[in-house]
Amino acid sequence: MSFENGSPSTAWRRFRDSYFLYRLQRDRRAQICLLLFGLLMIGLLLTPWIAPSNPYDLAQINLLDSELPPFWIAGSEPGHPLGTDAQGRDLLSTMLYGARVSLAIGFGAVLVQSLLGTVLGLLAGYRGGVVDALLMRLADIQLSFSTLMMAIVVGAVVKAAFGGAFYGDYGVAILITIIGLSEWPQYARTVRASVLAEKRKEYVEAARVLGFSSYRIMWRHILPNTLSPILVLSTVQIANAIMAEAALSFLGLGMPETKPSLGSLIKSGFDYLQSGSWWITLLPGLFLVLLVLVVNLLGDWLRDTMNPRLYKG
């Protein structure tokens, strides 16, 4: 590794010489996944410009166009390449907008849980003692409950307590909070495990001898060395969060139909499965699987490449 500080191309050079890129150039599957992920991201970023219509704009929806089939089935219309749903919304546009909502919730929830879990994991690992014991027992209990079940229970309680209208208005924020709060133990355990390994190393001792505050040692010295397990975990957790959101929405504890995510699209289409309009529910489902699969494959590859000490269990 080169250390030419000050030259503008240092970062680029380090990337060019990195093991990461070396592995990427030799793994066809990872390249395809990265390409697909990039395409999906670009597509979802540009959705307002590339989508055939805007599903939130009631003026663009014609109820007479409802349940049109996709283009390869007789009776389709060229304006709606993937057909329409039961309310006459263009399915392709609705799916793109829905995937944006799903992904936003996924990223938001992972942000919440990684912040919370990292802080608590650092504290537990570095301080040890009572703090550690208390936090880890709490994490044990929460994990034994399964995070998805936790999210369902909290969602159910919030919905029963505040009613459906409140839920509809603040859906994104509620879902991010619920999924974020129920998944923090994953991060806390992973971070704690690597903090325990790092804590014994000489550089931490050196920092302590130099008289740095424990706050500074935790954040500036130990945390950067635990980043690769956090990164690997985050990819898996984004996939998990998207799945959890879809499950919650499918149970009616998620996004309302007026501002659908992929999960609530699948749910609203399910009622029309029996009447033969399978595309309303199965196409968003396929899209969801594609999204989650690509993220999962990337996570798999990252784990093989970075090979961090993930907490096993």
């Binding site: 209990i141 034994s144 409950f145 399964s146 919905k159 996939a239 499918f250 033969g276 199965l282 999962n296």
Partner: protein, 348 residues
């Protein structure tokens, strides 16, 4: 052993305490029951009197003790909707869920062990590559989606019109690729009464038919997880010295794979099974929703829709209890399978 049981008990008490606090907090829907009972026109004197007669003017911890005392006696109050004790309602719905879980657990176990072992023994065969690829896709498929695909394929059926219908071979191909459907995908059918007390789907062909699609879709989400785990563990075990030694001694391969290697492979599988109990409950909720399977999960979701608080609280307490008990059992089983593990948590 004593230490382990004590710690487990302590943890169980902590879990049940947390759940009961949540239950206590939500039992009145987070609103003021007095105002709801009397309406906005009540005078101060009236509401004070009612508050006193309901015991709501006492300190919070006394009210909680009341609630906890009733909960210990398995009394969660009457369901608002069914007008009968909440626990009775759950007892009526739970068997359907348990049958569903049992059926899918059987399918998962019967399929995942041979598939996982096969993929580990013959890692280069096209079949095991295909199966591992499928399992990778499988973990990205949500349970409700696989359920819907099953419904579309085997209940509704598909009519293929891809090939020209005018020609004989086109007709023939279309018919070959079409699926009739017709499998039941709604509810439980008519469960058979066995021994006077047990309604079951296991005792008749028709009942099993109703059980098949829900159990399959629940099994399809658990399968990939277990196949991948068994495969990974088996690969590791097959590299170990004792397997090499067994091979050198000339033992039959089947004996090595299914007796020596499998036993050590099962350890993490049992752990995963324990960890997955909670997830399984969540998946059961989803499966029951898709198939309208009249189990405890569907009952819980209906209770949420109706804001039926006693039923919600009772369900949460029951599920919490199931988690605590199964986790303890899994730990004990783990110890039985692996004598090297001390129950204080680390391998000796």
């Amino acid at each position: 052993m004593i230490f382990f049981l004590m710690r487990r008990l302590l943890q169980a008490v902590a879990v049940m305490f947390v759940i009961s606090v949540i239950g206590f907090a939500i039992q009145d829907g987070l609103g003021d029951p007095v105002r709801q009972l009397l309406g906005p026109t009540a005078t101060d004197a009236e509401s004070t009197a009612l508050r006193h007669s309901l015991g709501l003017d006492r300190p919070l911890w006394m009210q909680y003790l009341d609630f906890a005392g009733d909960a210990v006696k398995l009394n969660f109050g009457d369901s608002y909707f069914f007008h009968e004790p909440a626990l009775d309602v759950i007892a009526r719905y739970l068997p359907a869920t348990l049958e569903l879980v049992a059926a899918s657990a059987m399918i998962t176990l019967l399929l995942s062990v041979p598939v996982g072992i096969f993929c580990a023994i013959r890692p280069r065969s096209w079949l095991s590559r295909g199966l591992m690829g499928l399992s990778l896709i499988g973990i990205s498929v949500p349970v409700f989606l696989s359920a819907m695909v099953l419904i579309q394929l085997f209940s509704i059926g598909i009519q293929v019109t891809l090939f020209p219908t005018g020609t004989g071979w086109g007709q023939w191909l279309n018919q070959l690729l079409s699926i009739q459907g017709g499998m039941p995908a709604y509810g439980r059918g008519n469960p058979v009464h066995v021994w006077g007390v047990w309604y079951t789907n296991f005792a008749s062909w028709q009942g099993l038919l109703y059980l098949l699609l829900p159990a399959l879709s629940l099994a399809f989400v658990m399968l990939p997880l277990f196949v991948r785990l068994i495969h990974a563990e088996m690969l590791e075990v097959l590299e170990s010295d004792y397997v090499k030694y067994a091979r050198a001694r000339g033992l039959r391969p089947s004996r090595i794979y299914f007796l020596h290697a499998l036993k050590n492979t099962l350890l993490p599988v049992v752990t995963l099974g324990g960890v997955q109990i909670g997830t399984l409950v969540a998946y059961t909720l989803l499966t029951e929703t898709v198939f309208q399977w009249p189990g405890a999960g569907l009952m819980f979701l209906d209770a949420i829709e109706r804001a039926d608080m006693p039923l919600i609280v009772a369900y949460l307490m029951v599920v919490g209890l199931i988690f605590v008990v199964t986790n303890t059992l899994v730990d004990l089983l783990y110890r039985g399978l692996n004598p090297r593990v001390t129950l204080s948590g680390r391998a000796a």
